[in-house]
């Protein structure tokens, strides 16, 4: 949070200036909505690991706030102050093309606990303005702050907002605009789930990824498998079985547990004596040869029906988390081999789909041993 405030102080330029120095080529998410609808809280919680309770102390955003998510895919997140009127603004003319030109998705945040009519009207206006020139922008409406609302009431609000927007758009002659609705709250997993859905739409060849995971689930009899971005706990792909919030929550929390353990026990260097002692007499092997898998791997058996959960790190950013069926913990070695194959496949997949320039840089394909060099001390760590 403090970083954020510092950043805000640093960005003294006005909004149009900022727009000018954008980076090309990375997909961008725009966070827009009314003042105090929770945009900054969302980006702080999702991208800066701010505990939700501390978003109370966040100050109002005065300028466009840019965050970049550097992960398997670089994504920029722009947090627009609610008071900026982009269209029909008498004072400043915004370079609309620069803002929306390379945008991946527009996220519109609506405070469900407040009167949302004005916000909906502004959203309609925004959609009408950008639909003509950029019809492919995904518009994701986050109906936010729904924690504490009853399920019925939540759905009522969602229905009401949906109708208001659809009606307005069809009145203006726009049918089938890519508008999606998500019920979100920073106090539970829903915001991460919503972001997952948004990000997944930006991934090239998502179907391939999903097919790989589905295949793995079938071979190893997994109930559900997720490919997580470890830093944000956004899942970028899952197998084809129906979505299930509960599975996502437990897998996401599992990533958290593993990250926490890693930070406490794995983020500081051990001494050389320690290492020397462990590599001498009864072992007689360098440490690297004593371990079976050079990436992080973990498993947990739940008491209920002995249902295990497993996690396997894919690369510096991604981890595969799966819920297994009961009794499969005994077959762990076999499962590990299968997972290894899939992980190799995933690595190749990301090598191929990476943007061109990046691919040239990382030209030599990483073989089984090649990963070692790239492996920094504290992967799986929160940045």
């Amino acid at each position: 949070m403090e970083n954020r405030q510092l950043l805000q102080k640093k960005d003294v330029g006005s909004a149009p200036d900022l727009v000018a120095q954008q980076t090309k080529g990375t997909p961008r998410l725009l966070l827009m909505g009314q003042r105090r609808s929770g945009k900054s809280s969302i980006s702080s919680v999702v991208f800066h690991k701010l505990p939700p309770s501390e978003t109370l102390f966040l100050e109002s955003t005065a300028r466009v706030q840019k965050d970049s998510l550097s992960s398997f895919m670089d994504v920029q997140v722009w947090d627009f102050p609610g008071q900026i009127e982009l269209f029909d603004n008498p004072n400043i003319t915004f370079d609309i093309d620069a803002i929306f030109g390379e945008i991946g998705a527009l996220i519109w945040v609506i405070d469900a606990q407040d009167d949302y009519l004005e916000s909906v009207a502004r959203l309609n206006n925004t959609i009408l303005n950008i639909q003509r020139s950029y019809p492919h922008i995904n518009i994701e409406v986050f109906i936010h702050k729904v924690d504490g609302l009853s399920d019925d009431y939540k759905l009522d609000i969602q229905r009401d907002i949906t109708i208001r927007i659809q009606d307005e758009l069809s009145d203006q002659g726009i049918e089938n605009a890519p508008v999606n609705f998500h019920l979100t709250s920073i106090y539970n997993h829903s915001i991460f789930e919503a972001f997952s859905k948004v990000i997944q739409k930006l991934i090239p060849r998502l179907g391939q990824l999903e097919a790989m995971l589905t295949n793995l689930c079938r071979t190893c009899r997994f109930e559900k498998a997720y490919l997580f971005d470890v830093n944000t706990k956004i899942y970028i792909a899952t197998d084809s079985t129906p979505e299930d919030m509960a599975s996502y929550e437990i897998c996401s929390d599992y990533v958290d547990v593993v990250i926490d353990f890693t930070e406490v026990y794995g983020s500081w260097p051990r001494t050389q004596q320690w290492r020397d002692r462990l590599e001498q007499e009864p072992w007689q092997q360098p440490m690297e040869d004593q371990v079976a898998c050079e990436w992080a791997e973990s498993g947990m058996v739940l008491s209920d029906a002995q249902r295990p959960i497993m996690l396997r790190e894919v690369d510096r950013f991604l981890a595969l988390v799966a819920i297994m069926k009961e009794g499969s913990y005994e077959k762990m070695p076999q499962i590990n081999m299968n997972v290894d194959v899939v992980v190799k496949g995933l690595t190749e997949f990301f090598d191929i789909t990476k943007p061109k320039e990046a691919k040239v840089l990382s030209a030599p394909p990483t073989g089984p041993g090649g990963g070692k060099a790239a492996r920094a001390g504290g992967q799986l760590l929160r940045s």
Binding site: S53, F57, D253, V257, V264, W268, E288, V291, S298
Partner: protein, 401 residues
């Protein structure tokens, strides 16, 4: 430690030795009860923290709790032979006055631990402190040996940057007030008619008595983060019976399996009961890791209970392992009936597997320390029967005498 090793060596060879061992065992298995008073102003968060620590509530679930009326008494079984008699004292003024007057002896005698909770949000600090002084004097009067823990609670409501300053300021005020309370008792002491003989030589004896009472620790806490676990782990740490034995056993286990760190958690609360750290492990820069582990595992337990639909006090996982390539390995596993064990160790597949086997082998020893009278003796069946006979015999004698 030494008598336990003796047990191991001479398992069942000579009967008199066995009898001596049985006596030692009975000593180890003696059930300990501790009276714990939880006091503080109404709405300061006493019942909330109790529910979080002992009943696995989530922090946000505590909103549902109503005001505690009078004293809410609960017996918390903590490890096999320690029972906490938790007196959650409703903090409304009428009750407070009642505790200090009519119920004074009932409430304040035989207290093992007093936990006093201050609310950082309180508007009437002076009045809070006045009540505190009264409580402390009552405590000093009836249970001089009681340990005092003062929790400056709801720290989450204070801006993070000023938290430390606020806490320091509160600490100095509370310490001053405690000294005042003790001074009051000192003055009263000569007039206290219980022991007229000491009253005669009042000045010297009055000076000698109260100083020992200042066994007091202060913690800044919040139910929204791990600080609560830090405070409660220190509270229960001193109450655990046979702690010395557990600690030495843990240390020898740690050396035997080449571990870097071993933590022993209580099953329900996931408070750290005992810990051992190797010299390399001591270099760990995270000084707050113990309460952090409690917090992590406890919230994980919640996730599991939500996922599996089992009650939140039920056991949620039996085994967790994590190997982080060539950096470290660790596992958390169900250890004895009332404990979980966490072992952090150097990487290496063979080392990991043998450590797991060794921990499993050590289980009977700890089960003996942890379990109540039923616990079978670790080394031989025969010893167990002798030990069991002895304890039932002594149990039978007690009512007669």
């Amino acid at each position: 430690m030494s008598d336990l090793e003796a047990t191991k060596a001479g398992s069942g060879s000579t009967t008199d030795l066995a009898a001596a061992q049985a006596a030692a065992h009975a000593q180890l298995k003696k059930v300990k009860k501790q009276k714990v008073l939880l006091m503080g102003k109404s709405g300061s968060g006493k019942s909330s923290m109790r529910s979080i620590i002992f009943s696995n509530y989530l922090a946000r679930d505590t909103r549902r709790l109503g005001a505690t009326i009078d004293i809410d008494l609960s017996h918390v079984k903590f490890l096999g032979n320690l029972t906490l008699n938790l007196w959650d004292c409703g903090g409304q003024e009428a009750f407070m006055e009642n505790y200090l007057s009519q119920q004074r002896a009932h409430v304040f005698s035989n207290v093992g631990v007093l936990i006093y909770v201050f609310d950082t949000e309180s508007r009437d600090v002076e009045r809070d402190l006045a009540t505190y002084v009264n409580i402390i004097s009552a405590l000093v009067q009836y249970s001089r040996e009681a340990k005092i823990f003062v929790l400056i609670h709801k720290m989450d409501l204070i801006q993070p940057s000023t938290r430390e300053a606020v806490f320091d300021q509160r600490v100095s005020v509370v310490r001053r007030k405690t000294a005042e309370a003790v001074a009051i008792v000192r003055k009263q002491k000569p007039g206290d008619q219980q022991q007229p003989s000491t009253a005669l030589q009042s000045p010297s004896s009055a000076d000698a008595i109260p100083d020992i009472d200042l066994d007091m620790q202060l913690f800044a806490t919040s139910i929204w983060d791990q600080s609560l676990y830090k405070a409660w782990a220190s509270i229960i740490h001193d109450l655990v019976p046979n702690l010395g034995v557990i600690e030495t056993q843990l240390a020898s286990l740690g050396v035997a399996i080449d571990a870097d760190e071993i933590l022993l958690f209580e099953r329900t609360s996931f408070l750290v009961v005992s810990k051992w750290t190797s010299r390399e492990g001591e270099r760990n820069p995270y000084g707050d890791r113990f309460e952090r582990m409690s917090n992590i595992l406890k919230s994980w337990k919640h996730t599991c209970s939500k996922f599996t639909g089992t009650p939140r006090n039920a056991e949620q996982f039996s085994d967790f392992e994590y190997k982080m390539g060539p950096t470290f390995s660790m596992f958390v596993t169900k250890f004895t009936t009332n404990t979980y064990i966490l072992v952090c160790m150097p990487p290496g597949e063979a080392r990991f597997n043998s450590a797991k086997l060794n921990v499993a082998a050590a289980r009977p020893w700890f089960r003996f320390l942890d379990g109540p009278a039923v616990g079978a003796s670790p080394s031989s069946q025969m010893l167990a029967s002798v030990g069991g006979g002895y304890s039932s015999e002594s149990g039978g004698q007690a009512p007669d005498a």
